[in-house]
Symmetry: C2
Subunit: 197 residues, 2 copies
DNA sequence: AGCAAAATTGAACGACTGCTCAAGTACGGG
DNA sequence: CCCGTACTTGAGCAGTCGTTCAATTTTGCT
């Protein structure tokens, strides 16, 4: 080899993620991307293959970041339920100011991708399933630790959390009503996970 | 006037709605539309002004249809809760085969529209708010009829229904798991609205 | 029947799309 | 220090986008 003065792939993915997250896959043009990540077409296509290829990596980048945030919330709280609630609060009520969109990028992609982009759609579904599986693992641990009744079904609770999080993020985008969303989160964690009660 | 041999506006809107609902606003080209509604560009632009103008009417057409479906479910059941549950079941478990998308067109539009199409985004938010208000009215009636505790907040319950319906539709698109969604609906109407129990 | 007005048609416009590739640049190894 | 190679550049391709408009067809009224 002879030349290695390359771009910072992590930094590029972060910027691309912000743009795709804000505008969506279709509405983001390759020229928008060129400007956002400061690369010329040739370099982009050499590094990522295509717009779809870049988006594919962006989806993974986003999902990894979400998983890391969830783990951070779990580590920061003693009880599993408190960790989950902290995660919901972080996603819905905190990061909202500098986040590119109120919505989940995966849910947004799930919404706009079609059979024409079957691979990306499949990728999105897989990553969403991994998120749900992640929730399930945490709920399972809470049951094992005696935080939740042994009758609680981790699979069902994880599904409910997934449904709620996506629904709440949509609601936030629809109304911008942080107060209402906060109340909904409180009700969710009182009603859905009646912890040591 | 001299010529009135026009297209059937209702029929055109129905076909346009199906296409937009399936592909979304951005991914639907005017040529797709021309074919779907069997009209040439000049006629379309004379009748609807622009792609956005047509989409605007499509959003209303869809929202009206949803409101009609909800009313139909309420009329078909004695108790308010049974009507709401029938509506959830119809949207989530029945019509799915010939519906253009598992998702709510309003939620889908909310997801893909941006500041560039501010009017359409505002329209979408308004129609979603009307849907929530519709839920609220029904819940209020249920409280007045003694079906629900007087402590139940109609506004809160309506918000929860809105969040759940959008979340469940997303989940159905993500997984295609009708069985799981059915279970989630059952749990929702047991847990959220503990009627005369 | 014949006319004026409304409705329809389809070719075409400029702008934009995702993407390619020949030419130019910058670096590590000898 | 210079060569060879990996990387970068940006003009430009073929195709599609939303939209316009002169020409044509279709209609209701007289």
């Amino acid at each position: 080899m002879a030349n290695t003065a390359k771009f910072d792939r992590r930094e590029v993915l972060e910027k691309a993620t912000r743009l795709f997250w804000q505008k969506g896959f279709h509405a983001t043009s390759t020229r928008d991307l060129q400007q956002a990540i400061d690369m010329r077409p040739g370099s982009i296509y050499a590094a990522f293959g295509s717009k779809s290829g870049l988006f594919r990596e962006v989806l993974h980048f986003y999902a990894d970041d979400m998983a890391r945030r969830l783990q951070g919330c779990m580590d920061g709280e003693d009880a599993t339920i408190d960790g989950l609630r902290a995660f919901f609060r972080q996603i819905l009520l905190q990061g909202g100011d500098n986040a590119p969109s109120e919505l989940c990028l995966l849910a947004k992609s799930l919404s706009e991708l079609e059979k024409d982009e079957a691979e990306l759609l499949q990728e999105t579904r897989t990553l969403l399933a991994a998120t749900e599986e992640n929730f399930r693992r945490h709920v399972e641990r809470a049951v094992a630790a005696g935080e939740l009744s042994e009758q609680a079904s981790p699979a069902l609770l994880a599904r409910q959390l997934q449904v709620e999080l996506i629904g709440l993020r949509s609601y936030l985008r629809a109304t911008g009503d942080r107060e209402a969303v906060g109340e909904l989160v409180d009700n969710l964690f009182c009603g859905l996970l009646p912890a040591g009660r």
